[in-house]
Point group: D2
Chain length 334, copies 4
């Protein structure tokens, strides 16, 4: 079978396809024939050696994948051949709060990821793919959608009438719009592109601000909303300062993007407004299952920006790197 | 001005209209010309002396009312003449958890209520009426809608995809359907009347069970839903037993109706399923304001079953007592 | 190796010792030589066929055990030979809220327990034994101490100055006294025996009530405390009624004992006082680890009432059944 | 009667004593003869015009005071003459989360404070002084002790065995040590002075690090503790960077001091460790009452560093400004 790996960390160009034997599932494991994958900004950082934690040469990249169970190991009880499953970002993080052991096991970083034609998983390291989604759609969920749900619902206590601010139109933000709307919240979005603002409003966002035309968008959004309850901060230079301006007294800023820089965290701001700033890394398997319940009940379809074949994974990386996407960039099996 | 009072506690017949001078607001107070009121099951119990706690003869009944500010006392800052306001069920309960002092101040029980043409309130004992509601609609909110929100959102952590079970078609349950749907939950309802089930589904409920045809409805609902996350238990003989059967492992039953009887609370059931059973009495002013934000954003219109004139308040009580209503029974100023 | 099993469910007499080969650990598993066990009231119910859920003939009894790792299976990373470990009550319940799958895997019930000389565990199905405890002490923790911690801390939010009521002097209640005192709470206890009340006060309880002399102890405790914040309800006829009388408005009753009967749950009581009644079954591995951290930091020694040799396990059951114990009844390897 | 005010904002020198008539309590109000006050770092910032929000010339300074009720207004029910009471930092913040209206009413800032011989309070704007404290001790609680409790208990979920890090030996940090020890936590402290470290250990801290000798104290504390659960960040240049190094994965940093600067908030740090950083401003009346319950039950005596007479309030400010204090700086009535 073929798989991608990273012999070096020089960016998308570093991706190499190689061949090895199809692995066999051990006791309590399953073998999955992968059908689709999605790329996250984190994968670009990993490929270019900017992801902070020690990367292992030749690591198999990507955390997000969807496929079908083709074999089950001894004593497996949760799955049967033909089941459609999705990878769990940190396979050891089953539920409850994160700990260091779980964090160290994130796929596609120090630990081998899923960009291979066949992958062996522990049986509790995958969840069911929602039935109404095709494989490319389903492959978008493990990182971006779980992150948005974890921030908005698990920690943010999303409630009808609440106000949510999502920044930009990347994967997490587009899911944030879809999920917050499903929960009855009023969503404000930002973008540097009016057509993207329009598309976000088409997904249910109630208000949009073009940050190119309104550099002090934090104050503007505070004025228009009276202060939002929750910001999903995915980052970019100086956005935290604006997010802290936009949030209401007693509100919450979830820092979920490695793009964010902390230069703008003003302590007096934190204090005056009694704001909670929380770092978040995706979420547990239990969180993923809660998300899926909502995805199914609301028949939400993830927004797939563009699809690339397995052999052109590097192109998928490059496309994501341009920042021109709206929603998720996906790779499919040839 | 005219007002109703209860010289005795013999039921709806005990209501008497009397006349007294219009009161004047003191410092920090407002005078409200009442325009509409709503009746809750609690008011029937109070009028018939079955409400448990010591009632005071000649108490002015009702907790729920809507009106306009017609005068403001010295130092008042929150309101101005012409503002449309709603009574807060326990005026001392501003936010946070309940305490005994707040509980002792519930309107229309030991403390005089609002069934009068003019009422003086402390300025923090009312909230704004949502602008899209007329006075009869707005008057339905203070007890039933606040209770449903407090149970579902404040304690229940309502989330998209969650499953909620509401019993019957009284005021609290109809609001529960509307609010749970606004929050993206899947709602199951029960009734003894198929036309009511149909109306509840028209409001967004996804499933309905006629408890006359399905006496073991708890088990049935568990089977169809896989166990609901949250039951709003408004009571009736033996319903708690069914509610505990319907709820999932780790789920929640909010006991919000004085009609409920506890005969059916089975301790092994509580233990096996690790269920939380929580008694709830309406909610604080802060909870009311959160509710209103959702009522406004979702343009929810309360369901008014029937409207009676001020002089026929006793008829409103009797109509509620028949149990034939769907939603709220309202009284309006002549 | 020798092990106990239950060919029938006629009580302690049903326990039989049998012989089988020492098991071998598979991948990700460990083999533990057991050194001590403890008996819980649940084990008496199981042995006598009163535990509700379908028991399997010849089940190996007991959930609580302590021992040393003597062999490790392939790929094991958490343990090494010689480590002292304790069983986790529900091995699948790693953290977060309970679910049905975890509940179905409780040891010594439908699933084989630990009353054997050697037991194989998945490597995440045990926790470290606190170093300052000997094996008999350590063996008391898995069910009773985890339950007390889960109720008091995880759900009860134990805080300095809070008031806790613990009923009787069984395993859970004695741990509740020790843990609540460590957390700075003021603890009231009940017993039918003044010497036991004295011993409980010796462990740090601030007040004790003899329920034989004060049948309406709920009202008495409410009067003396102003209403306790939290009751650990381990049961007995009619105790729930008294617990609801003792608790404050807005307080919490954790129902943790299968002995409890629900006859006394008065719905008006629940409502007037806005009480939360929560069923609890022990706790997850994460809860056990939190407990151990406190046990270690406060150098808490569990109270071992009496110790029986492995061959006389039935005597341990009978002694627990008399209700004369104070703290935990333990079995040790011959 | 005499009172202090701030005609200008040039520092401690700006304080002026003036004379005016004793005020009279209106309806629902009480008149308090003040006996003692305490000074917080915030008061220094206000006096020197560095407190950010618009100050009003001639404002009466200080939020913290203790005194006796000497007269009660019409309709007052909570207090009687002779009661010993303490000011609530934000009189409108009764319970629940903070809002902008409460934040705008903090004493001694935009709104007149309590550094006067007689002060009129709304009857719900004070709490009882713990009986075992003298007036100087009691006057230390309203800002520093409430802040420490709010951070540690209300938000931090203080539990036995938890690890807390408190920075320095100012008012908040010394209370944090006392309260965390009362709750059974293990406390680490920092100071630049070994004698202060010794005194903090005398109050129950388990470990201390001299930040002058160990500039990278965050890493050192992480190494010794395995990562603390909770940091009370009172500030100073670059301390946030160290605090983020000291905290465990999934831990919490409460930012409670205006001294803190945000330069050190590293977003990757927040993300890798999934840390929550929360700004906190003192706490509500309900939080103060919870604190007092613990202060009473544990017979905690606040640490009073030094006492100045009313006429030498400016000296008290200057002494606090030197940073040489340990615990609280107090002013007493002549």
């Amino acid at each position: 079978m073929r798989y991608h790996h990273l012999p070096s960390f020089t960016g998308a160009d570093a991706l190499r396809v190689a061949e090895r034997d199809e692995p066999a599932p051990g006791p309590g494991q399953i073998l999955v024939r992968m059908r689709a994958w999605s790329v996250n900004h984190r994968d670009l950082l990993i490929a270019s050696g900017r992801y902070g934690r020690g990367m292992r040469a030749n690591v198999v990249p990507l955390s997000d994948g969807a496929g079908e169970v083709v074999a089950t190991g001894q004593g497996t009880t949760r799955w049967t051949t033909g089941d459609r499953v999705l990878s769990v970002f940190m396979p050891n993080w089953q539920s409850g709060p994160i700990d260091e052991r779980s964090a160290a096991g994130a796929l596609g970083g120090p630990v081998d990821g899923v960009l291979a034609e066949y992958v062996v998983f522990d049986e509790d390291a995958v969840v069911s793919a929602p039935a109404h989604l095709d494989m490319p759609e389903a492959a978008t969920l493990p990182c971006a959608a779980v992150t948005a749900w974890h921030a908005l619902v698990t920690h943010g206590g999303l409630a009808p009438g609440q106000q949510v601010l999502a920044l930009g139109s990347g994967g997490v933000s587009v899911f944030a719009v879809q999920l917050a709307v499903a929960g009855g919240a009023r969503v404000t979005v930002t973008s540097g592109d009016d057509r993207k603002l329009e598309r976000l409003c088409g997904l249910g966002a109630a208000d949009g601000v073009n940050y190119r035309r309104v550099p002090e968008w934090g104050r503007t959004i505070h004025g228009r909303s009276g202060g939002v309850d929750h910001v999903l901060e995915v980052g970019g230079a100086g956005t935290l300062r604006q997010s802290l301006a936009a949030v209401r007294t007693g509100g919450r800023v979830s820092v979920i993007g490695v793009l964010a820089d902390g230069a703008g965290i003003s302590v007096p701001h934190l204090l005056w407004k009694a704001v909670t700033v929380q770092g978040l890394s995706v979420g547990s398997r239990a969180v993923f299952e809660e998300l899926n319940r909502a995805i199914v009940r609301h028949a939400i379809h993830p927004i797939v920006d563009r699809v690339f074949p397995f052999g052109e994974a590097a192109e998928a990386y490059r496309h994501l790197g341009t920042g021109k996407h709206f929603g998720k960039v996906v790779i499919v099996a040839d």
